[in-house]
Symmetry: C2
Subunit: 360 residues, 2 copies
DNA sequence: CGACCTCTTGACTACGTAGTCAGTCGGTGC
DNA sequence: GCACCGACTGACTACGTAGTCAAGAGGTCG
């Protein structure tokens, strides 16, 4: 039999092998594998037995070739192992696998548009059925030119921009605003802001929410300090802030930088929250266990990814999608890093207040 | 021309389309795309122009089908967004893409062997060229039954077990031992251990390194407390430890739990490192910026993934592999959470020492 | 008893790429 | 001038799956 002779060395068994083993046609095996109706129980049984015996696994390349559907989702992320993106990655993968999809990951560490383009080409060539962009930095915007017909889900909330993407994300701007309002309600005159790196939508949203709250209260808008999400950059920003006269409250764009800010303030002789209140963003696992448990804004990443992926799969599979975008609310978690301002300090024009007054 | 008519609605352009456009054969297009020699510059030029004009992307499903090589790496992880696994995921993806491979991610949150088996089948069906297991928990052991001929890289160091896997990882046991030796050298009589969850190789290694150091010094081996890598579990363990009479030093299996431990000790009125020294593991970004900067053991994840992936690609591509396993050294980073034991405390048989002695 | 229908099964083919092998063309050595 | 060789190109086919369509088996209804 030349047919089998040609099936050389050690290629894994294919449907034809199963078919021959079970005494049916390849097409019938295909029917059984795909759970199609109209296969007699007896035949189905025989085929399943043959599959089991030969250890047959459907070849997804062949399947993708013929169906032009890969059951693969492309996940594009900026690649640093930051808290948010990591959480998203896990949530996306879980949702995908539950729906029978596989996730291909592409990281684009540099914001180089060329690299993003290459990543896109990669995904297009793989014939992904959908693309997920996690925490989309502006450098990922070229994804707008995604392969035609491939739906794109961006895990961000962006109410203003009429986009053809699916958009599901935390309502970061409102969350940031709530954080700043909390500080204002405590009596702080104004609130400084340590922002994330430029070029991220979420950086903008946090800054805008902060500005919203200050504007609504008619307060002055201090200069923005900029970090890169890392504790080290937070420390740097905190060191600068320690020199600001009358500083009593800081809203930091993520918890990791907030830890750095707190540490810097402490290093400069200031106490949190006695001298300065600090609010973070994300609610990382360790936030509650800091020396001064961190007041922060919690993002529900599980909810975001689950809602977003549901939307994406509905779109891919042609099911009706009521609303192409959704905002997931954030939750302000008040802990111990915020308190009313120290009266002496708010008035003091000089830096480094509070040194001479260790008692409450 | 029925040929073109059949190419229906909006399938993306294939090589035949490019070939027709350039007036060459499909095979020649294939040669150009794959950079094969023996194509005249003029033809190459024409083909490239046609590719560009039509926006042609090679279909990787078809390519994988015919070559039986997918240029895909399967990445299997336990799925929580823990620090180590997240770092590994990023490193693996970067190395893979640099080598022209794509990464498919499979998370197995539950340790359910059935789920692991399904994940394996998934990867086998995708025809992955290699499999990477990140921080392999015992539940991933069934990966030993990986599809025949598919090399597996485990990102762990496991000198004892003669395995057919590639093994590259930090020498966790030695690192743990160094951490404990550091504490003993400071003068601590013994060191308690807060371990990770059972079923992880790395949990075992940390515990063994700890035991090694104590045994070598002839010290008693305290009971092991067990956490789940989370700060909350560390807090719980720390609360229990606070009641231990004469406690002066703790080695915690990761930084996140260490933060919880420190917080619990503080909550119980103990001071770090005055009353109790604490050492963590991993050197997460915030470790250096804690209220008491954390002494810890740094893992060089970038180095681990880079070495490991190099090994994997060499194996996949049939290049000679000098050594199938490698240990990456760890680095003890001494900060301020460790100090010599407080004399009064080491002697004290009662719990909660140090309360009456806030000075020094 | 015949027309008709449903259920089950298989033959044939497309999908897009790369491997094999044969053929053409121009140049080189003797 | 002829055999030969290398560079270049294309026709044909395999890869493993699912879609299309037809055929056979068995039942139902009038």
């Amino acid at each position: 039999m030349p047919e089998r002779a040609r099936r050389g060395a050690h290629r894994p068994p294919a449907m034809v092998d199963v078919a021959q083993h079970a005494g049916v046609s390849q097409k019938t095996v295909s029917r059984v594998v795909n759970g199609e109706p109209n296969v007699s129980p007896a035949v189905r049984e025989r085929v399943l037995a043959a599959i089991d015996e030969l250890g047959f696994r459907p070849n997804s390349a062949a399947r993708a070739l013929v169906t032009a559907r890969s059951r693969v989702i492309g996940f594009v992320s900026t690649g640093s192992a930051l808290y948010g993106p990591s959480q998203m990655a896990v949530g996306v993968e879980q949702a995908a696998r539950a729906a029978g999809y596989t996730v291909v990951v592409v990281h684009t560490r540099s914001g180089d548009p060329g690299e993003v383009g290459a990543a896109l080409d990669e995904l297009a060539g793989r014939g992904v059925d959908g693309i997920v962009v996690s925490e989309p930095a502006d450098s990922l915007r070229p994804l707008g030119h995604a392969p035609a017909g491939v739906p794109v889900l961006a895990l961000e909330h962006r109410p203003d921009e009429p986009d053809d993407w699916l958009l599901v994300g935390a309502d970061v701007r409102s969350g940031a605003r709530a954080a700043v309002e909390h500080l204002l309600e405590l009596g702080h005159e104004t609130v400084w802001h340590v922002a994330g790196p430029e070029g991220w939508g979420t950086t903008r949203d946090r800054r805008l929410g902060w500005a919203d709250a200050l504007a609504a209260a008619g307060r002055p808008l201090p200069d923005v300090l900029r970090g890169d999400w890392s504790p080290a950059s937070g420390f740097e920003a905190g060191s600068a802030l320690a020199d600001v006269p009358g500083l009593t409250a800081v809203f930091v764009a993520n918890d990791e930088m907030a830890v750095g800010v707190v540490r810097a303030l402490e290093t400069c002789g200031l106490t949190v929250p006695h001298d300065v209140s600090v609010v973070g963003f994300d609610d990382v696992a360790t936030a509650a266990y800091q020396h001064v448990p961190l007041t922060t804004v919690r993002q529900d990443f599980a909810e975001i990814t689950s809602q977003g992926m549901a939307l994406l799969f509905a779109t891919i599979e042609g099911r009706p999608v009521p609303e192409r975008r959704a905002a997931v609310p954030l939750q302000l978690v008040v802990r111990e890093s915020t308190a009313p301002p120290h009266p002496a300090r708010a008035a003091a024009p000089g830096g480094r207040g509070g040194e001479g007054d260790p008692t409450t």
